[in-house]
C-alpha cells in the first residue's frame, strides 16, 4: 500500500528517538489506510487519547480526535460511541492513564462490551512525568517516587480483563510490527470491546528492548475462543518474572454489544413536553 501522508499532521513529533510510540503510530496508520481501502470512511474514525507521551498521537494523526484527560479515554469514548454508533472509536491510553487513574472505566467498558478499541501504550512507566512506576512496573522498580525500589507486584492486565468479561483480549509488542498491525486490525474489526496491551519501549525511562526481544513470542491463536485456554496463556507471564512472553490474541468471543443500534426517532419536543404536562395534570 502506498502511504497517503494526508493522514498525518504537520506537527513536530517530540517522542524520544527509539520510542515505541512510533511503531504504534506507524502500525495504526497502516491499518487505517488498509481499512479505508476496504471501504471504511476515514472521517468515521475518532481517536481518543489520555494524557501522557502516548497521547500525543492525537496531535499526529489528521483524524477526528478528542485529546482528553489523564485516565479518561474510556468514558469519553463511551459517550462518543453512544452518541453515534456508526463511528469507529479508538482509545489510545497509557498504562498509568488506563491501569491506574482510570482503571474502573476500563473494567466497566469491558463489562458493557462497549464496541470500541482500546490500545494501551504499556511502557510500564509514567513517561511524560519522567519515570515513576505504574501498575505494570515490575517489583523493585526504582523511579523517582520509589527510589528505594517498588514494593508492589504488577497487575496481570490480561487476567484482569478476562475476569472483567472483555471479548477481545490481546497483547502486542512495538518491535513486532507486522504482528502489531495484524492485532490492531483484528481489534478494530472486532464487534465489541477489544483491548490491545502493547508492550511499548520507553527509550528514556524503561528501555526493556533486549529483555523483551529475547522473551517475546507469538502464540498460536487457534484456541483463542476458549476462556480456560486464555487464562492459561495469560498466566505464562505475570508482567514481572523472567519467563517467555506470549503476544497475540489471547481471547476472542461474541457477546451482545453496547450501544445497541436503535432507530433515531424524530420527535417534536413541543408535543412531548405538552404530553408530559397533561399526564401530570
Amino acid at each position: 500500500m502506498t502511504s497517503d501522508e494526508t493522514i498525518v499532521t504537520q506537527t513536530q513529533n517530540t517522542w524520544c528517538p527509539g520510542c515505541g510510540n512510533f511503531a504504534i503510530q506507524h502500525a495504526m496508520k497502516f491499518v487505517i489506510q488498509e481499512l479505508e481501502a476496504e471501504g471504511m470512511a476515514r472521517d468515521h474514525f475518532v481517536l481518543v487519547s489520555g494524557i501522557g507521551c502516548h497521547a500525543k498521537i492525537a496531535d499526529y494523526f489528521q483524524l477526528n480526535s478528542f485529546y482528553s484527560l489523564h485516565g479518561r479515554t474510556i468514558p469519553v469514548a463511551t459517550g462518543i460511541k453512544m452518541a453515534n454508533p456508526n463511528l469507529k472509536v479508538i482509545c489510545f491510553a497509557g498504562d498509568g492513564d488506563l491501569y491506574a487513574e482510570g482503571l474502573d472505566h476500563l473494567i466497566h467498558a469491558a463489562k458493557r462490551n462497549l464496541d470500541i478499541t482500546v490500545i494501551c501504550h504499556n511502557n510500564r512507566v509514567y513517561g511524560l512525568t519522567t519515570g515513576q512506576y505504574t501498575p505494570t512496573s515490575p517489583y523493585g522498580y526504582q523511579g523517582k517516587s520509589t527510589p528505594n525500589g517498588l514494593h508492589e507486584y504488577p497487575l496481570n492486565i490480561i487476567e484482569l480483563l478476562l475476569g472483567a468479561g472483555a471479548t477481545f483480549v490481546s497483547r502486542a509488542y512495538t518491535r513486532r510490527l507486522p504482528h502489531l498491525k495484524r492485532i490492531f486490525k483484528e481489534a478494530i474489526m472486532h464487534q465489541g470491546f477489544a483491548h490491545v496491551d502493547v508492550l511499548q519501549i520507553c527509550a528514556s525511562f524503561f528501555n526493556a528492548t533486549t529483555w523483551y526481544d529475547e522473551r517475546v513470542y507469538e502464540t498460536n491463536e487457534s484456541n483463542a475462543g476458549l476462556f480456560e485456554f486464555a487464562c492459561r496463556t495469560a498466566k505464562q507471564w505475570n508482567y514481572n518474572d523472567d519467563t517467555k512472553i506470549p503476544i497475540g490474541i489471547f481471547f476472542q468471543t461474541r457477546k451482545p454489544v453496547l450501544p445497541e443500534k436503535k432507530i433515531q426517532k424524530e420527535v417534536d419536543r413541543g408535543v412531548i413536553v405538552k404530553k408530559i404536562l397533561e399526564k401530570a395534570t
Partner: protein, 548 residues
C-alpha cells in the same frame, strides 16, 4: 385569599410523599395552586417523614408553619406538629396506634376489612382527609384512578371506607373558573426544561437531591427519543457527557455537591476544549455527605469557581416551576451558542418540592447555530470568540478537541502568543455571555418595588421571601442569574434601596460575598443552616426584627 395547609406525617416507608401527592393532586383538580414540601431523613424505613401541602388561589412556592389539618400516621406526627395547628384546624389520626385530639381513623381495621397491605394505610388517610374536607367522592375516585394505577380498586375500597367513616369539619370549595394544573417536582420542572431546550442525552449517577431529574428523564426517555445513561461514577458521567457533546448531542448531567467535586476536572476540560454541557447541581447540607435529604445554599461560590483555570460559565438558580423550565432550556441553548459549561443550581427544597406552575409553560423556538467554514478549524478565531461547531463524521474535514492549550485547529501548542489568543478568545466569549444574560428576567424584583428596604435572596428561599416582602411591605430582589453576575439588571432592581437584608440557607452568606465583589454591602444577614427551609411565619418574625 383562601388557602389551606395540610400536614401528613408518618414513618419512612409509610408512603407519606405519595399520599401527599394525592392530596396535592386533589387540590390542583379543584383549581388551586399547590406547593408541597417534603421532609424526610436519609433512610428507607422508620424515621419521621412529613409533607406539608399548601393550596391557595394564587401561586405559592413555600410552606407555612400553621396547618389546618394534620394527618398522623404515627405518634411523632401528632406530637411534633400539634402546636402548629391553626385555631380552626383539626387532626385525623391512625387509631389506636396514635393518640391525639381530633378524629380517630381505625386504619388497621379498614385494612383488615378489605385485606389491604400495610402501605395502603396512606390511601386510607387520604380518603379520611377527603371526607373531612368534603371533596366530592367522584373527584377523589378520579384522582386515585389516575395516580394509583396498581391495585386501584382495592385502594378505592379502602379510601372510600375511610372517607365515609370521617366526619366533615372543614369545607374546601373548588376555585371558580380555574382548571387543574400539572403538578411536578422542581427536579421534574428542570428535566422538562432540558427537554424543551433540546437535550439529546442525560447522564447522571444517582445522588440526592438531584436523582429526581434522572428518574424523570429515564421514565420519559423512550417517548422523548433521548438517551439516559447512568454510568459507573460521576467522573464517567461528565466525561461521557463531553463525549456526547463532541459527537454533536446536546447533553446535560446532574448531581449534588459530592458528585460535583468529581466532575470539576471535566468542567475545566469543557472550559478548555470549549464543549457545551449543562450541569444540574442540586445542593444539600454539607460539607461532605452532610445532610443528604436536607437543604442548603452553600455551594454557590464552589460552583462559581470549580475547576482549575479561568473560563466562562453560566449559572442560574431558578425558584419557580416556570423559571426552572425556562432557564433549563436556556442553559442548553447558551451552552451550545457559546460552547461553555452552564449550570442550573438548585437545592433540596426546590428540587424535591412539588409545584403547580405560576402560568402555562411556553416552548420557545431554538436558534440554529452558525455554520462552519472550510477548511475546518475547531478553534477558529472569531470576533465574539465563538468558533463554529462541526460534528464528526464530516467528509474531508477533521474535528479535533484538546484539553491542552491548542492552536486554531486543536493541535497542542505551548506557544505564548497562541496562548494569549486562546485566552482572549475565551474572555470574549465571557463578555458575550454577560451581554446575553444581563437581560430582563435575570433579576426578579417584587414585593413593594419602591420600598427602601429590600430582602435579597436567590434560589428556593425566594418563595418565602416574596411572601414576607408582601406581608411587610418590603422590596424583594432576587438574582436568578448568578454568573456572570447581571450587574445592570441588579443595579436597576436596587435603585433607591437603603437597607439590604440577605436571606440564605448557609452559614456564611455566599451571595453576600458575590455582592461585595460587585460593590454592594448587605446590612443584615438572616442565615439558616439547620437544613430546614424557612416557613412564612418564621421568616416574617426574623425579618421584622431587623427591618426597621
Amino acid at each position: 385569599m383562601t388557602e389551606y395547609s395540610v400536614l401528613i406525617g408518618g414513618k419512612a416507608g409509610d408512603g407519606i410523599a405519595q399520599a401527599g401527592q394525592l392530596i396535592a393532586s386533589i387540590f390542583s383538580d379543584l383549581g388551586y395552586y399547590v406547593y408541597q414540601y417534603v421532609d424526610y431523613p436519609s433512610l428507607i424505613r422508620g424515621g419521621h417523614n412529613f409533607c406539608i401541602i399548601r393550596a391557595a388561589e394564587k401561586p405559592v412556592f413555600t410552606h407555612r408553619t400553621g396547618v389546618d389539618l394534620i394527618l398522623a400516621l404515627d405518634q411523632k406526627t401528632a406530637d411534633l406538629h400539634i402546636h402548629n395547628l391553626t385555631t380552626q384546624g383539626t387532626v385525623i389520626y391512625d387509631s389506636p396506634k396514635v393518640k391525639s385530639e381530633g378524629q380517630a381513623l381505625a386504619i388497621n381495621e379498614i385494612l383488615a376489612q378489605y385485606k389491604g397491605r400495610p402501605i395502603m394505610g396512606n390511601t386510607a388517610m387520604v380518603g379520611g382527609f377527603c371526607g373531612c374536607v368534603g371533596i366530592p367522592w367522584s373527584l377523589v375516585e378520579a384522582v386515585i384512578r389516575k395516580k394509583l394505577p396498581k391495585e386501584t380498586d382495592l385502594n378505592l375500597l379502602i379510601a372510600r371506607e375511610a372517607y365515609s367513616r370521617i366526619t366533615r369539619c372543614i369545607s374546601v370549595q373548588p376555585v371558580e373558573g380555574a382548571s387543574p394544573r400539572p403538578l411536578l417536582s422542581g427536579n421534574e420542572w428542570i428535566g422538562l426544561g432540558l427537554l424543551a431546550g433540546g437535550i439529546d442525552a442525560y447522564v447522571a449517577y444517582p445522588m440526592t437531591p438531584s436523582s429526581g431529574v434522572l428518574h424523570f428523564l429515564a421514565s420519559v426517555a423512550d417517548e422523548a427519543g433521548i438517551d439516559v445513561v447512568h454510568p459507573e461514577s460521576e467522573i464517567a458521567v461528565i466525561l461521557m457527557a463531553l463525549g456526547f457533546a463532541y459527537a454533536g448531542k446536546k447533553t446535560a448531567v446532574g448531581t449534588s455537591g459530592g458528585g460535583f467535586c468529581l466532575m470539576t476536572e471535566g468542567v475545566s476540560l469543557a472550559g478548555m476544549a470549549e464543549l457545551p454541557i449543562v450541569i444540574v447541581l442540586s445542593q444539600r447540607g454539607g460539607p461532605s455527605t452532610g445532610l443528604p435529604t436536607y437543604t442548603a445554599q452553600s455551594d454557590l461560590l464552589f460552583t462559581c469557581h470549580a475547576g482549575q483555570g479561568e473560563f466562562p460559565r453560566f449559572i442560574a438558580a431558578p425558584a419557580t416551576p416556570l423559571e426552572a423550565f425556562w432557564w433549563a432550556a436556556e442553559a442548553v441553548q447558551l451552552a451550545w451558542k457559546l460552547q461553555i459549561p452552564t449550570f442550573i443550581l438548585s437545592d433540596k427544597t426546590f428540587s424535591e418540592g412539588i409545584y403547580t406552575p405560576e402560568a402555562e409553560p411556553e416552548i420557545r423556538a431554538t436558534t440554529p447555530l452558525p455554520a462552519p467554514s472550510y477548511p475546518y478549524k475547531r478553534y477558529a478565531d472569531t470576533p465574539d470568540g465563538v468558533s463554529p461547531i462541526l460534528v464528526p463524521p464530516y467528509s474531508g474535514e477533521v474535528v479535533k478537541v484538546n484539553s491542552y492549550m491548542h492552536d486554531y485547529s486543536g493541535i497542542t501548542s505551548e506557544d505564548p502568543e497562541m496562548t494569549v489568543a486562546m485566552v482572549q478568545k475565551r474572555l470574549r466569549k465571557a463578555e458575550k455571555l454577560a451581554t446575553m444574560t444581563d437581560q430582563p428576567g435575570a433579576v426578579v424584583c417584587g414585593g413593594s418595588v419602591k420600598a427602601k428596604t429590600a430582602i435579597l435572596c436567590w434560589g428556593s428561599p425566594r418563595g418565602v421571601c416574596s411572601e414576607v416582602a408582601d406581608e411587610l411591605g418590603l422590596r424583594l430582589v432576587s438574582p436568578v442569574v448568578l454568573s456572570p453576575f447581571p450587574a445592570g439588571e441588579f443595579r436597576r432592581s436596587m435603585q433607591g434601596v437603603e437597607k439590604v437584608i440577605l436571606v440564605e440557607d448557609s452559614s456564611t452568606g455566599q451571595l453576600d460575598k458575590v455582592l461585595a465583589r460587585e460593590g454592594y454591602r448587605t446590612d443584615e444577614l438572616i442565615l439558616r443552616y439547620d437544613g430546614r427551609p424557612f416557613a412564612v411565619e418564621e421568616l416574617v418574625e426574623r425579618v421584622r426584627r431587623v427591618a426597621s
